[in-house]
């Protein structure tokens, strides 16, 4: 790659990353509770555990977007 400075992430990819932030930080008053319990665990603990698994899913989408975008830029660079 001959570009001088690495590009910024795309808005769409950033949006994917924003989802876990909102779910974990933004929605605190909504999920900080004991009931309903999930498999015996208090809701807040279960919520965070769920997002440990959901976050990689969001980021996989972000990766697809970024990879596709980079492939585009490479093609344009070659022509």
């Amino acid at each position: 790659m001959s570009r001088a400075v690495p590009p910024r992430p795309s808005l769409a990819a950033l949006g994917c990353g924003l989802i876990p932030f909102i779910a974990i930080c933004g929605a605190v008053p909504l999920w900080d509770r004991i009931t309903p319990t999930v498999f015996g665990l208090p809701f807040n603990l279960a919520w965070l555990i769920a997002w440990i698994v959901l976050t990689p899913i969001c980021m996989t989408f972000a990766n697809r977007i970024e990879t596709a975008r980079e492939a585009e830029t490479e093609k344009k660079g070659d022509s």
Binding site: M1, A4, V5, P6, R8, P9, A13, L14, G17, P20, F21, I24, C25, V28, P29, D32, R33, I34, T37, F39, G40, L41, P42, N44, L45, L48, I49, W51, I52, V53, T55, P56, C58, M59, T60, A62, N63, E66, T67
Partner: protein
């Protein structure tokens, strides 16, 4: 043989074996997903997960997290939150950092600052703040070692003596030529640790309560307020939670010793894939929380939460198993401690002392001086550990408050060419100054928010305003014309 002798001997055996094999081995190999994938043909997905989960464990996650689960309750959940979000952030900032690091030969965070902003003063400041922030992190590991030895000796060895022993061991590790861990010894430690955590995390609730769900029923019934923020604290509410999570998320990769680790990756794609997968390794952490919560009913007299994991193990299992738990915990403390010590010493001598005060020193002299700095820093950390009663988690939060102040400089350095040296320096000084003020006057949390986070906001604001007020400058990453 007394129980204490058995437990301590097992710990001694594990640590001794680990150290011996470590010293006999070759060069240190930084473990990351890539290398394990390459070397791990035939390892199933589960085994690989066990491995990486173990690598990401530290004394903080083992003793500190269970400690806060026991003593603070719901606020301890911030740990699960920031570990997940930290990896999200790394997806965006590590690939450009990696690319720039490769192109310009950058090894550490001060190198990054030096290249981008071209100011020796700013770089030295970054190094100094880095060293100061490492001290509480180091203090945490030493305190953890003290706890392990203390509990395993059935309170036979006094805390101060135990911590001093730990400190000497870590320094010896470092002096014997740095850390050289054989691949499979790391494997052994990782498997041991994760196995211990998951086993104890399931066995204790089953043995004492009849199941994890039943354990929660019992504990929640006994202390319902403990499980919703602010838990058993007067001031760690939602505002504190969000600000502490953000602080730790932004500071995640700002530790000076961490940048070097990402340079072993082969490509941007590898780094991104790492960033995506790594949250899954924190799935072992909830088991640590289970033990801290179980301890509420099992150890009602306990004052110091950081002891809860080991005390629960001591009360429920034979001494040799306590030794296994303690031994794994000890290795988990000693290796990061050695890395931290080495980084702090290198930062101090190469990026602070030599550029500012003694530019004529040769690399050899620097290396020799660094050994004395190792002693100084470890004694300082030991001193703080002996006289401080901060919990392990509080110590890490202090360290984070410091290193997160580098975040504006890094994020602007990557994505905002208009940021100037004066701007970033002013921001950094503001942020660090505020952190020092808040910490020294005991004002954390401040107005219900994490004080380090407030300092970070001020840092950003000042950096932006001053950057716009000073003339634009050349971005050090751009090629010279």
């Amino acid at each position: 043989m007394t129980p204490s002798t058995i437990a301590l001997s097992v710990i001694g055996g594990i640590v001794g074996l680990g150290s011996l094999l470590g010293f006999l081995a070759g060069a240190r190999r930084q473990m990351n997903l890539e290398q394990w994938t390459v070397g791990a043909r035939g390892f199933g997905t589960v085994l690989l997960w066990l491995l990486m989960a173990g690598e990401s464990f530290t004394t903080f996650s083992l003793l500190g997290a269970s400690g806060w689960a026991f003593s603070r309750g719901a606020p301890a959940l911030y740990i699960l939150a920031y570990l997940t979000l930290g990896f999200v952030l790394s997806f965006y900032i590590l690939p450009p950092i990696w690319e720039l690091g490769r192109r310009h030969g950058l090894q550490t965070l001060p190198d990054f600052f030096q290249r981008r902003y071209g100011s020796r003063t700013l770089t030295a400041l970054v190094a100094l703040i880095g060293v100061i922030s490492i001290v509480p992190y180091l203090q945490l590991q030493i305190t953890g070692l003290g706890i392990i030895v203390g509990v395993a000796s059935f309170d036979g060895i006094a805390r101060t003596a135990a911590m001093s022993i730990g400190c000497v061991l870590v320094s010896a590790f470092v002096f014997a030529g740095g850390i050289r861990a054989v691949a499979w010894i790391s494997v052994l430690k990782d498997f041991l640790l994760v196995f211990v955590v998951i086993f104890v995390g399931i066995a204790i609730p089953v043995m004492h309560f009849g199941g994890i769900g039943k354990m929660f029923d019992a504990v929640i019934a006994a202390k319902p307020a403990h499980f919703v923020m602010p838990g058993s604290t007067p001031n760690l509410g939602h505002g504190w939670f969000i600000s502490s999570v953000l602080l730790s998320t932004f500071g995640f990769y700002m530790w000076p010793h961490q940048l070097g680790a990402c340079y072993t990756a082969r490509s941007r794609e590898t780094i991104r894939r790492n960033a995506i997968m790594m949250p899954l390794y924190t799935l072992s952490l909830p088991f640590v929380f289970f033990i801290g919560f179980a301890a509420i009913l099992m150890l009602p007299e306990l004052k110091n939460g950081d002891l809860s994991f080991l005390m629960v193990a001591r009360d429920s299992f034979p001494p040799w198993f306590l030794g296994v738990v303690g031994g794994a915990g000890a290795l988990t403390a000693m290796v990061p401690a050695a890395v931290l010590l080495l980084s702090a010493a290198a930062l101090f001598t190469k990026n602070f002392f030599r550029p500012l005060f003694a530019p004529h020193l040769t690399d050899d002299q620097v290396a020799r001086g660094a050994k004395w700095i190792v002693v100084a820093i470890s004694l300082t950390s030991l001193g703080f550990a002996v006289f401080s009663s901060s919990t392990l988690v509080s110590l890490l939060l202090m360290g984070y408050a410091g290193v997160t102040q580098f975040f504006p400089g890094v994020i602007f350095g990557l994505f905002w060419p208009r940021a100037t040296t004066t701007g970033v320096t002013s921001g950094l000084v503001t942020g660090a100054g505020l952190v020092a003020f808040f910490v020294l006057t005991g004002r954390d949390p401040f107005l219900g928010l994490n004080a380090g986070f407030i300092a970070l906001l001020a840092n950003f604001l000042v950096a932006v305003v001053v950057s716009l007020a000073t003339p634009a400058q050349r971005n050090g990453f751009e090629p010279e014309d």
